[in-house]
């Protein structure tokens, strides 16, 4: 006969990805119940957007998934373009793809660092990843003016054109990336401790993943062949040749490796986009930014963000501010199955499972 212990993991636990708490009930070291508690970072972005104009909501989208601001910007711009029927300038489409794939790269290598930190390898892999990530953030700073809170996409294009020499610098980063990924793989992938802690932990079947609303790398790690860049082919993704990696078992190791493989595919897309970017304006001159009044109606626009399917559901009543501004947060919805994944595993596995889902609290709580 044993009694259970209730532990509150967080919100200040060093390996959580923000202020995230889990009420875990343990029988010895095995998890019998897990309830996620969040809302510590709830800023009610959706309400703020209802009292500001459509353009003013753009810098707030940076602050959702704060590691990937440019893809958040693109998702919102895409939803408004669907709502108002705005066409995007050609050169801007290429810039959007380049910045989105750079964002995906720096998110996935930061993930490698974070999950190693979750496992207790404090700082080593993280600092290697951040050293490489700095190069991408420098690119963002010279393009948009800020390393993280970029506020770069506009309705119908981008805010400003690429500065002189930026494409060449981006090409050098893209060329140097495979060597860095090889170094990370040499550091990590054969590591026995990593294999013992990740393989076989929390396998997720494909039908459970689909029913539970998983999206992004977690869904593909469970074997589902679904990438919104191929399924919806938003922007100009249909012009680029890239593969979509798929896992088999859906355990933590699959979720880890799939991001490494996706990073390699992102490098391929980057090289193609940098090679074929045309000249032209970077924003549709007929699109209004300030004072935009989309016609009454609603639209749901989504992209394949680095964390999963990031969608914006916008309702307009013809005015100059949104009537309803809904963010479909991939991190929150990927957490729906957290309890199911963690039941029966050990307490140490809980951190690894949470790390492998890759959440950011700015997006969970908005």
């Amino acid at each position: 006969m044993s009694s259970t212990i209730d532990i509150s993991l967080g919100p200040q636990h060093p390996s959580t990805h923000g202020v995230f708490r889990m009420n875990v009930t343990l029988d010895g070291e095995t998890v019998t119940r897990l309830q996620p508690v969040f809302g510590y970072l709830h800023r009610n972005h959706e309400k703020i957007a209802e009292s500001n104009s459509w353009l003013a909501a753009m810098p707030y989208t940076d602050r959702l998934d704060y590691i990937c601001p440019l893809t958040n910007n693109w998702a919102y711009a895409l939803a408004v373009e669907k709502l108002a029927g705005i066409e995007v300038a050609e050169r801007a489409e290429y810039i959007r793809v380049i910045t989105a794939e750079l964002t995906r790269l720096q998110n996935h290598i930061a993930f490698l660092g974070f999950i190693l930190g979750d496992m207790g390898a404090w700082g080593t892999a993280l600092m290697y990843a951040f050293r490489e990530r700095e190069k991408i953030l420098d690119l963002f700073e010279s393009l948009t003016g800020a390393r993280m809170m970029c506020n770069y996409m506009r309705f119908g294009g981008c805010r400003c054109d690429l500065p002189a020499g930026w494409l060449e610098a981006a090409r050098q980063v893209a060329d140097g990336f495979p060597a860095f990924l090889d170094e990370m793989e040499a550091l990590l992938t054969g590591n026995e401790i990593l294999l013992a802690r990740l393989q076989g932990v929390a396998p997720l079947a494909a039908d459970r993943a689909i029913n539970g609303g998983m999206s992004g790398p977690v869904l593909r790690a469970s074997g589902v062949d679904y990438d919104i860049r191929k399924a919806d082919a938003y922007g100009i993704y249909s012009r680029f040749a890239f593969r979509v990696p798929r896992g088999s078992v859906g355990d933590c190791y699959d979720r880890f490796m799939i991001r490494v493989l996706e990073a390699r595919e992102s490098v391929a897309i980057l090289k193609q986009a940098i090679a074929s970017i045309p000249d032209g304006p970077v924003v549709n001159p007929k699109a209004k930014q300030r004072g935009l009044r989309p016609p009454a109606g609603e639209a749901y626009g989504r992209i394949e963000g680095p964390k999963g399917e990031l969608g914006f559901y916008l309702i307009s009543t013809g005015g100059d501010r949104p009537y309803r501004f809904r963010i479909r947060p991939p991190s929150l919805i990927n957490l729906t199955l957290l309890e199911e994944l963690c039941l029966g595993t050990k307490i140490a596995d809980v951190m690894v499972i949470l790390g492998s889902i890759d959440i950011v609290l700015g997006e969970v709580d908005r």
Binding site: L83, G213, P294, E298, E309, G311, Y313, R328
Partner: protein, 199 residues
Amino acid sequence: MNDLVEAIRAGVPGAGVDVVENPGPSAQHALLLAGSTAVAVAEFLRDSQGWDFCSNVTGVDWPARKVREVRKTMQDGKEISESTELDVPGCLEVVYHLYSLKNKLGPLVVRMRTGNRGDDVSVPSLTSVWKSAEFQEREAFDLFGIQFSDHPDLRRILMWDEFEDFPMRKDYVAPDDCEYEPTPHDEILERVNARRGEA
């Protein structure tokens, strides 16, 4: 869209389903489901029509509003416009966006409306059909006050449990936060002093 409605009416006898047109350029029209048959229709959509992925669940607040209808009629050879004001009652609405991963289709928008914004705020929960709706329905309950019947765990998710009122409603008044401000200044300090003077 109309084919889908007919298939639903054939597959789930007595199903209450209508089409809600979306006037904007995105042309994402919606199905409006009646609460009594909503779960059966959802299961039909998931199992027979292949809508296996519930992507987004959200609430919308439509307060009661007056809508002016202008009608132009001919009378004695002159055109007269009559305007009548209609009272559109308020309601809360839940909107679901469904995708089909199998057939690579989507989005299919499904809506349910409550009776009013006061006491009749219950709709059936679709968590038993798509588990991804669980947290999002909790959020719609938390921020809008929509009660989901048969939800496995309906409690607040983003606000703390003892919080009252529903922040995303259009008539929500934010509380005076001078108690939460650790170092009040300017007008917040005036309000804090006024309140301390009262107390």
